[in-house]
């Protein structure tokens, strides 16, 4: 069986852990418990008749004082960049992390999750943010860990990209 490592990157409290919990355990917690250190979850998926064990690395979110430890990215076959458009500055963090990841592990498959889509009436993405998102030329999904919207697709699309890479 193939094993693939993927990492979730993003600012703090954008919903990285929640997306994983929704995908792996089908649950959602309203209460915010920040992730300390690294938590690895596993999920077996079948893509184009191939069984793939996804090793999903949930990494502590970034803030100005707490930065991503880039060595954790080693060996990753893909990564998910998570932003929370109800807090538009998390997009700036997303762009930085994308650059950091590219610099450290090169061009591997990536996918962008604009999370908390259930709150899309509170999203406030500037024109500049939308343009910058487009310039990344990566697939973008509007996800909600709360409702489960697009969460399956997020992981499956990334895995599919990884297998065809």
């Amino acid at each position: 069986m193939i094993q693939k490592k993927i990492c979730l990157l993003g600012a703090f409290s954008v919903g990285k852990t929640s997306l994983i919990k929704r995908y792996v355990d089908s649950i959602f917690e309203e209460k915010y418990l920040t992730t300390v250190g690294v938590k690895i979850d596993k999920k077996l998926v079948e893509i184009e008749r191939q069984k793939v064990m996804m090793m999903i690395w949930d990494l502590a979110g970034e803030d100005d004082f707490c930065k991503l430890q880039v060595s954790y990215l080693r060996g990753a076959s893909g990564y998910i960049l998570v932003g929370d458009p109800t807090r538009p500055h998390t997009l700036d963090r997303l762009f930085c992390l994308h650059k950091k990841a590219q610099k450290n592990i090169g061009n591997i498959p990536a996918i962008i999750a604009l999370n908390k889509h259930d709150l899309c009436n509170q999203w406030s993405l500037s024109f500049a943010h939308r343009e910058e998102l487009e310039e990344l030329q990566q697939p973008i999904l509007n996800t909600s860990a709360k409702t489960g919207d697009q969460v399956q697709s997020l992981f499956i699309d990334l895995a599919t990209q990884m297998l065809s890479n």
Partner: protein
């Protein structure tokens, strides 16, 4: 059990030595806190795929051992799921007395303290962010309210001639499109959207018989009419408000021409404030495409031809080019904002 071993166990640390690739032999007894992670009869620690984090750490640890560093290399915190509970762990690698040592620590207390600190600081940051968003929301509300009041007053002031509420509003919106296209900051865009509609406020001081005269104005009537620029500017002066300073410049200079043939001062080129040059373009456009007492509404084509012939003489040619590039947005506003 040696004293040393007991000490390690007391700190919930398990010390192991590397015996072969990915296989480690305990030097100290396994602390109780780690037991749930192992089967009872596990003697050695085999770091295989069931330990993905440790496996990842081994890569760095190996390099550390090869270089025979005695000071520990620390893995950072990770969590292992165990019977519905999470166990917080940390590993260190060090090289002592010719042996490659691996220490696995159960760090419940350290984890608890770190988590508590991080959680409080992040909860705090989230509250701050929320407050900032609330302030921004209220500020936008206040700006919108100011704008509404200002537009109502302007419509009232303009009701003696054909300056309808919609015309006034359109001038602001067109100007904002131009300002955005020029890459102005959001504050400046807000300013011109509110300031441009005030360009003709000085007409409040012009008598009806001139303002509403259908035919051409006599010379003395024209001179009087032209005073609306100065009247407007003096009405808008000395407020100490940045947006109003822009409004003053626009009122003062929106009849100046690029080639210096305009009034009141005959300024030329970039001597004319850019906000006034923008307003001049969009004001002429709106007047041409709508009906006035002295003319019918012209088509977009005819308007475009007339304005093209004014570019470089009456109008700033570079701004006129920008205006053309953004004509689709301007036309959309024209369609949307009607009386």
């Amino acid at each position: 059990m040696t004293l040393l071993a007991r000490t390690f166990q007391g700190f919930n640390q398990w010390v192991l030595r590397e015996v072969s690739e990915q296989c480690f032999e305990p030097i100290t007894p396994r602390p109780q806190a780690l037991s749930p992670l192992f089967k009872l009869d596990d003697e050695f620690l085999h770091i295989g795929e069931q330990w993905p984090f440790l496996l990842h750490f081994l890569y760095d640890a190996k390099a550390h051992w090869i270089e025979q560093h005695a000071q520990p290399l620390i893995s950072g915190i990770w969590l292992e799921d165990c019977q519905g509970k999470e166990i917080a762990l940390e590993a260190s690698a060090l090289y002592v007395d010719g042996e490659s040592l691996l220490i696995v620590h159960e760090i419940e207390r350290k984890y608890g303290e770190t988590a508590y600190r991080l959680q409080s600081s992040r909860d705090h940051l989230l509250v701050e962010e929320e407050l900032e968003r609330e302030v921004a929301r209220r500020t936008r509300q206040i700006i919108a309210r100011e704008e509404q009041i200002s537009l109502c007053l302007l419509a009232a002031a303009g009701c003696r001639d054909e300056e309808t509420g919609a015309h006034i509003r359109r001038i602001g919106l067109y100007s904002a499109v131009m300002a955005e296209a020029l890459g102005w900051g959001i504050d400046q865009v807000d300013h011109i959207r509110m300031a441009a509609p005030m360009h003709d406020i000085g007409k409040i001081g012009i008598p009806d018989y001139i303002l509403q005269k259908p035919g051409a104005l006599e010379n003395d009537e024209r001179s009087l009419m032209e005073t609306h620029a100065a009247i407007g500017a003096s009405m808008l002066s000395d407020t100490g408000i940045e947006m109003m300073d822009m409004a003053r410049d626009i009122a003062q200079c929106h009849h100046e021409r690029w080639d210096g043939s305009g009034y009141p001062k005959g300024l030329r080129g970039e001597e004319i404030p850019i906000a006034a040059r923008i307003t001049a373009i969009v004001d002429i456009y709106d007047a041409l495409v709508h009906k006035r007492v002295y003319k019918p509404a012209y088509s977009e084509e005819k308007t475009y031809d007339i304005m093209s012939s004014m570019s470089g003489s009456h109008l700033d040619p570079r701004l006129f080019e920008l205006f053309q590039q953004n004509l689709a947005q301007i036309q959309a506003i024209r369609q949307q904002v009607q009386d």
